[in-house]
Symmetry: C2
Subunit: 638 residues, 2 copies
């Protein structure tokens, strides 16, 4: 049934395409790979001559389209390679070139992908006209990243298997006509009246999508309610969508594959690589702490193999009757607000994920510009009445002040930070402050995965603010490559040497002091009143970070000296303006400036008082239906 329907549907697509193309072009086969329509042609060179044709076809059939040469129509790789290299300017810096005869594609990795593509993709079309291959371009990161390398190599190696998977996904997505459903429901599997274990099910009578699947920092046993009937069978979910890579949204996603899921994971390219990095580290930390992780690294590979990346703004069919569009969330690299369009205008639903509404040094502010939204599921981390952060300028001034005060006392500043997001923001601030002489130039040690995460940022500069992107792409201006940034790669011995040495700044994971190298830093530096511990990000309930922030000064030593307590004597300060989260003003502005406004808002991802207060405030200010759901509830929308 399914296959027949699909074949019929594909036949009609093919007919539409044939009506549109000039007579001298020929289409030998059309197929879906995931949400994308693939056109195989016997006349790839002629296809490439038609400027704008593919764009027109895509708009006719309302699909993303890739044109590939039918087998046997291309120049041989040996002949093709020099001709391709000849067409691309030397300055592009090609680092790798690989041919895939099964799909007629040639993968070109280069330092400056823009020069490979050319103006309005002219160089790409030239390549196809010349050799008949379809080029695919990747950026070679300006900072070496083992994560990016590993992910890309793994995906190259799995390319054949992945194509089968994509065809199967394509068949599933297009199995149905997408009539308006009778209902749309959202089930809360986590992160309601709490920060952590973000997870939701979006369902219609014919489709089910899971959004995020995170852990709960400081409460490892509390995982999303995946056992609820609304989430089951996990194996039959149509799609999984990940808003961003932080572990409280992504940590348990590989578990789905252990439970038999083998469908697609939709997210951005940057999030794909970052989540791989963070999940493998999550397994590593669990092992080090003697906990049994809920899945093995093999499941992370399964997840990567099943990931389909989307650019911001791509409108993508992900299940019968459900279209997904990701928008910039301004929170961390690759972070997305997920917009779902259900049926033919039946309902529009937005999951904010985590957002920062105003521009930061790293990112543009979260996008809230959607053609239609009836329901918004909105984060509320800083949703309390008084959750106002100082603005970026004041925060930077305060940070500089605290660093100067500490270094004048010959002390060291320790900053717990998420490897992804806050660390890079602070690196930019510190680099500028040193360059401008506002603080003394001193080493900034990066501990944990901060350097690696930074390298991933440089691999996907499209996700960064314009000015920053430009700087990164010019070696001599890349602020992340400044000399003072030094990786801690010598273990506890190196940490002891640093602690015994001259004043410096240390950025270390984990951001909420729930484990990782920051614990060693507390032990090495916490006893000395000259040093400063500086919080720059949100500390969730139940984390050691929150407890210290609230005044706790006696903390247990880590494993080696179990049973004994460490008394913290260093200065403890918080600077609020560097958070990756919008503050109360930002959250309200996000809603206020939406046009049109949603009819209904579910306030999630905040402590109970935050979601309660924020939900009441939104109701009073904007007269919308607002809710502060509990976990395990199911709402009907539309």
């Amino acid at each position: 049934m399914t296959t027949n329907d699909n074949t019929t549907a594909l036949d009609s697509v093919r007919e539409k395409l044939n009506n549109e193309i000039p007579d001298e072009l020929s289409i030998s086969r059309v197929t879906y790979e995931g949400p994308e329509l693939i056109i195989y042609t016997d006349t790839p060179r002629k296809f490439a001559e038609q400027d704008g044709l593919v764009r027109r076809l895509a708009s006719t059939v309302r699909k993303r389209i890739t044109v590939r040469p039918a087998p046997g129509t291309q120049t041989s790789p040996t002949d093709a390679e020099p001709r391709i290299r000849n067409l691309i300017p030397d300055k592009a810096g090609i680092t790798n070139l690989e041919f895939y005869p099964e799909t007629g594609e040639v993968l070109i990795e280069a330092e400056k992908p823009g020069l490979v593509i050319g103006s309005r993709a002219s160089t790409l079309r030239e390549i196809t006209k010349e050799v008949g291959w379809t080029p695919e371009v990747l950026r070679t990161p300006p900072m070496e990243s083992s994560t990016v390398d590993n992910v890309r190599n793994f995906l190259k190696q799995e390319r054949g298997e992945r194509r089968q998977f994509l065809e199967q996904v394509g068949e599933e997505i297009h199995r149905e006509s997408g009539q308006d459903p009778e209902w749309v429901r959202v089930t809360t599997l986590g992160c309601c009246r709490e920060v952590g274990r973000a997870s939701f099910i979006l369902s219609t009578p014919e489709s089910r999508v899971l959004i995020d699947c995170g852990d709960k920092p400081g409460a490892e046993g509390e995982v999303p309610y995946l056992q609820l009937p609304e989430a089951n069978p996990i194996a039959d979910l149509d799609a999984v969508v990940l808003t961003h890579a932080h572990l409280d949204h992504s940590a348990l996603l590989p578990l789905l594959f252990k439970y038999g899921y083998d469908g697609p994971v939709y997210t951005t390219e940057a999030t794909r690589d970052l989540m791989g990095l963070l999940q493998l580290d999550y397994l590593d930390v669990a092992a080090k702490e003697g906990r049994t992780p809920p899945y093995e690294s093999e499941m992370v590979r399964e997840e990567l193999k099943h990931t389909i990346t989307l650019d911001y703004g791509d409108v993508t069919d992900i299940a019968p009757g459900i279209k997904l569009t990701l928008h910039n969330a301004g929170h961390i690299l690759g972070s997305a607000v997920a917009h779902f369009h259900i049926g033919s205008g039946f309902h529009n639903l937005v999951f904010s994920g985590d957002i920062h509404h105003t521009d930061t040094r790293l990112f543009n502010g979260a996008s809230n510009d959607f053609p239609r939204v009836e329901t918004l599921v909105l984060e509320s981390t800083y949703g309390r009445r008084n959750d106002y952060q100082t603005d970026q300028e004041d925060s930077e001034r305060r940070l500089i002040e605290l660093i100067n005060e500490t270094s004048e006392r010959d002390g060291t500043v320790v900053i717990p930070a998420f490897a992804v997001g806050r660390s890079q923001e602070l690196m930019l601030v510190l680099e500028e402050a040193m360059r401008e002489g506002k603080i003394p130039t001193m080493p900034v040690y990066l501990d944990g995965m901060i350097r690696e995460a930074t390298a991933i940022h440089t691999a996907y500069p499209e996700f960064l603010r314009d000015g920053l992107r430009q700087r990164i792409l010019h070696d001599n201006e890349n602020p992340f490559l400044a000399d003072q940034f030094q990786q801690v790669d010598g273990g506890d011995q190196m940490r002891e040497e640093i602690a015994a040495g001259d004043p410096c700044i240390i950025l270390s994971t984990s951001g909420m002091v729930t484990g990782g190298p920051i614990i060693s830093w507390l032990e090495l530096l916490g006893g000395d009143p000259e040093n400063t511990l500086l919080f720059v990000g949100y500390q969730a309930q139940g984390t050691l970070g929150r407890r210290i922030q609230r005044g706790e000064r006696k903390i247990p030593f880590s494993d080696s000296r179990r049973g004994k307590e460490l008394t913290l004597q260093f200065r403890v300060e918080s600077v609020s303006g560097f958070s990756g989260h919008a503050d109360r003003n930002g959250l309200e502005d996000f809603v206020r400036t939406m046009e049109p406004r949603p009819h209904k808002i579910l306030c999630v991802h905040g402590d109970e008082s935050a979601t309660d207060q924020f939900s009441s405030a939104l109701y009073q200010k904007f007269n919308l239906r607002t809710y502060a759901p509990k976990n395990t509830e199911t709402f009907r929308l539309g």
Copy 2:
């Protein structure tokens, strides 16, 4: 595992019992049959000598207890029968006496069961002391009822199979210790923002219970959302609870057995018989209207076989961690408010079913006296701002006025009425009015299943008001046996004769004019302005009754004259005070007089405006969390 745990649990129960009983008594076996604990004893006669012992044991183990003789300890049936008859006064009117050697029980059916039981069950104990058998007593209805006969005969015949079923249910119920669950959820499968298709799922992580499963009058295609994941698999539900027999609560219950359910249905004895009557009629009406009913009569038998009856006030384990208690709802015979106690005081939840809060001629007002309730799921049929009914006295005066006006014009009064509930209430009013000379004595024709439903009322007088019960049990005073009540049993020919004859009163089903003989009456009497159509019950949206009540006067003829229209010219009146539903005042009083008050109220079973207005009003008056849920939502309680 399950069985072992259960065996261990049973062993400990047996030990408790042995500690409590005098040495000369012996327990040969204990087992569960459904929620009941069965004690087999080698010394049944000595057991019976101990006045109050069983009550003490029941309170020790917190279970209902039945004591049965171990096989071979009783006098033979041939010897026992005359001795039993000898012990029971002649006035008891024994109509049947049957021995069941497998369980050592003797079933005694009698016109006056009270005389079989004796004061404080003294006669029953005498019987056991004398012959060793355990007596079970049933009332022989004062009006013959084929339904009661059929159900009882069927259950006698299935007695062996049923005992196996009950043992299996007992094992399931007691499979777990009943720790406090992490959460309690309610899922709305129907009757939200509408009247009809009542159905809910109550769930905890370890148990799932379905409450009601009705159809929607006037919209046969709209059935409860049984396909929701929260309801599935249907076969694995732990229990089904039925609040009352009306089809908008019971019609689709047999469907569950078609879907593979084979667990217990908990309800009152009266509801069991009434639902059987109404469901078989439902199949009949569907067949007559050329619709394919969703199940066959075989499934009604399955349902009866799986029904476990409870008295009002019995606290009963129905699933691990869930105790059910039914209370009088005052709506129709056997109707119940269902109270659920979850865990050990974790949460208490009440489903009102349909309620009438004040006393009527038939029933005491709905009980709202519960030791604890945190959440109330409350019907809202008359929940609108202006849904006030005239009081019973005014309503009766108006009814009498309308009958007199009509009969003075030589007209006939036609009253569409539910077979169960409103018909009997009206019969009481009419009988009294004629006896007291307030209206002329004239025939009152009962069409549809009204007479049969009335007979069922006389079989279960325990569910009626005290005074009425007394009258029914004395032949010469039973108001339902008055001469003027005549059954229409001659089909359309008899109807034509009645219509052509002298003024009379006709009570006919269906109550909302959605089918049944009332349609013939409209056709026979609707064209004559001398007659009166009198609505006395709630007319749901989409029913023909509602449309006529709202002023529609052209209605299609039934099958035989398809395509033509009938113009109604008789007088159409409504008298509101006979409804089986509390009016807005009654609903508010139900909540106001609750002690303690619930924290949360879900307003259901009412049109959208009714549930909306009522939910707002309850919030404003009592400052509770109130909701007007949609269908297919899941709420977390506790």
